[in-house]
């Protein structure tokens, strides 16, 4: 049951990164691909009906982590205190900028919120990448199962690392690069003309950056967390996940060359799922690895809620999740296709 819940939480968070990832990516490339006010409104219109729903995957994923592994939720959220509060502030600023941007006609007002939106999206992408780096590298969990990390110490991963060290910064940049390409691929699929041309350009150039950074991140793993290989050696079927990621990356190069936008977006979604899946396969059964003593690590065994609670939750999870998949498919199908320039719906208030 614990293993199943590990998979459920990992799945929820991976879907979150794929979905909210494209609207973060949209924010990162926003100022570059959309220059005029009409172009910017078109680009915003491509994410407006869905970004809020995408963010719910984070809240629901967090809620399910709390449900299944309360001890890991408590340790992780209090340990990354400063970083998480800043994530909250950035999420707030980003959401407000989307809500208020088109409220006034004033070009200065719009320019201001456009920049807030782009900057908050970029910083969030970096932070999420760095967060994944922290999970892989490990944190200084003590015998009571708690830790607290500063933003940075000496930028070296070690027994007392900061949230930022050279490895997690590398992962942060990797995260931003992957989401940039993901967002640009989304916009290439949803828009036409100049905006589409610029989005395709970003997506194409970004691919080389992703390829280089991914190689660097993989080469660093034996130094940072050699234990990540253990599950792969024990169950070689897990190698399918990195192979999927590799195939998706190759597919991205291929589709981008032929400008097949829909296939390229699907490939970049698959790339994200493959990368996160590979990480989860390597981390299991750990939720938080202790850099102090492996015995202090929080695992699915020592951090889980009661088996009876997990069984009961699984029953309603199946019902709720089916409903969620049904609405999400319905909404995405409804807003499928190229986005038109907005005609002044409620988004303009």
């Amino acid at each position: 049951m614990e293993t199943l819940w590990f998979a459920i939480v990992a799945l929820m968070l991976a879907v979150y990164v794929v979905l909210d990832g494209f609207d973060f990516g949209t924010g990162i490339v926003y100022l570059f691909v959309a220059r005029t006010d009409a172009e910017r409104r078109t680009v915003l219109h491509a994410i407006e009906p869905v970004w809020d729903g995408n963010e719910v995957w984070l809240i629901a994923g967090g809620g399910l982590l709390f449900l299944a592994f309360p001890r890991a939720y408590a340790a992780g959220f209090s340990g990354f205190y400063l970083a998480l509060i800043m994530v909250l502030w950035l999420l707030i600023l980003r959401g407000v900028s989307l809500g208020l941007r088109s409220h006034l006609e004033s070009p200065l007002w719009r320019e201001f919120w456009d920049k807030v939106f782009a900057l908050a999206s970029l910083l969030l992408a970096v932070v999420f990448g760095a967060a994944l780096g922290n999970l892989i590298r490990g944190v200084p969990l003590n015998a009571e199962g708690y830790f607290f990390t500063a933003f940075w110490t000496d930028f070296r991963p070690g027994p007392a690392p900061g949230i930022l060290d050279w490895y997690t910064v590398l992962m942060g940049v990797e995260g931003a690069a992957v989401l940039t390409v993901h967002g640009a691929s989304y916009l290439a699929m949803k828009t036409v003309d100049e905006v589409q041309r610029r989005a395709r350009l970003v997506a194409e150039l970004g691919l080389w950056v992703i390829a280089a950074l991914t190689v660097a991140a993989i080469l660093a793993i034996p130094v940072i967390q050699p234990g990540l290989r253990r599950n792969y050696d024990a169950h070689p079927i897990g190698y399918l996940l990195p192979l999927i990621a590799l195939g998706a990356l190759a597919g991205l190069f291929y589709c981008r060359r032929r400008q097949q936008d829909i296939a390229a977006f699907l490939a970049s979604s698959l790339l994200i799922l493959g990368l996160l899946g590979s990480t989860a396969w390597g981390l299991f059964p750990n939720l938080l690895i202790s850099s102090v003593d492996p015995a202090y690590s929080l695992t699915v065994a020592n951090a889980a809620a009661s088996p009876a609670g997990l069984r009961a939750a699984f029953a309603w999870f199946i019902v709720g999740f089916s409903l969620v998949v049904a609405y999400s498919l319905y909404i995405y199908r409804s807003f499928w296709g190229k986005v038109e320039a907005p005609s002044g719906d409620y988004g303009e208030y």
């Binding site: 205190y81 409620y346 208030y349």
Partner: protein, 450 residues
Amino acid sequence: MASAVLYDRLQFALTATFHYLFPQLTMGLALLLVYFKSRALWGQDEHYNRVARFWTRIFAITFAFGVVTGIPLEFQFGTNWARFANYAGGVIGQTLGMEGLFAFFLESSFLGILLFGEEKFGPRAHWFAALMLLIGSWLSGYFIIVTNAWMQHPVAYTVAANGTLHVTSLWALLTNEWLVWQYPHNMIASVATSAFVMAAVGAYYQLSGVHAAYARTFLSTGVVAAATASLLLIFPTGHGAGRQVFASQPVTGAAFEGVFHTEDGAGIVLVGQPNMETLTIDNSLTVPWVLSLLVYQHAKAEVKGLDAFPRDTWPDNVPLLYYAYHVMIGLGTIFVAITLAALFMLWRRRLSQTTWLLWVLMLSAPFPYIANTAGWMTAELGRQPWLVYGLLRTSEGTSPLVSSGNALFTLLGFLGLYALLGLLFLFAVFHTIHKGPGDAEQSRQAGGAA
């Protein structure tokens, strides 16, 4: 580290209070929107569709602020209250997970259709989207109140070998007897907020002599809904909730009413200041026997005072709790007076000409927010010194390694950011109200034609 608890509490109080300014409008407004959309759909009356569009714009701004200020609350269980999260996650993780999966997805999916899909999906689907938002937002309120009710009145748990709590029955958790009054009381209070706001906007248009047809609809709908809600808040929901507190948390009930000493035939204090030195109410105005009568239906019944309980189980800030409770009750009483007067004038068809009453209605919009806030302060201060009543003290729930300096830093950060958000929200809402329902409608059609 002692002050870390204080900063953690202030931060949660700030973020929860500020957040709840938004959902208390949207949850009530969702109900009124469904009413308007139903009138438009079955009455074939386009006027109600235009009314609904205006309130949908207000709904959209408010909902966006509600979403972004809501995320910090779930996060803070982990960031600032890690020992509580670890201790109680086996129970409340269930309700918070359900809220995400059953309520938030429903709301966010159908909000997209409500805001961007009226032309694309047609009137029936648009009505359905409004209905789904109502169900989603009220479900979300339900799961949060289940969580709070469990903290007030823990049920359906066992203590595991490692000292943490595990849920024993989801059904018992979801049907906690505490919910019987707390849930309807809270939801009706949210209807009161939205109805007062609607009536206030109607009064503003009427007094300004603009948008006459809209002013009439806003006023009549707002006044009828506000009067109904104000009455239901006092009886039966408020009365029931109060009796429940006296039954399960008698020490809290005593602090609400400022009863320091146990007495037979206790009177009810209308005004007066609790004095914690002498343990009396200074300058009090008391009506004899009424408290015993209200709580136990017997004028001579014994009401236990604070002196009947050990001091370390008293709510830790009795005066603040007492004032919050009396502000709530006082405002609730004033709401009944205002709305009944307005209802009478509406019935006599004189409300639109009664300038003084329109002024009162317009200026009363902030007060349901104050009453709702005071109500939640009553619930949360009343639970002290416990985080989970009788099981875990608030001081035992914090994060062990988050220092007071860090907690103060983020508290101040939230304070600054939320001051800015409050200004932006008021600006956006006043701007929308000022532009009025008609103009946006014309520009919408002009934009659609071009």
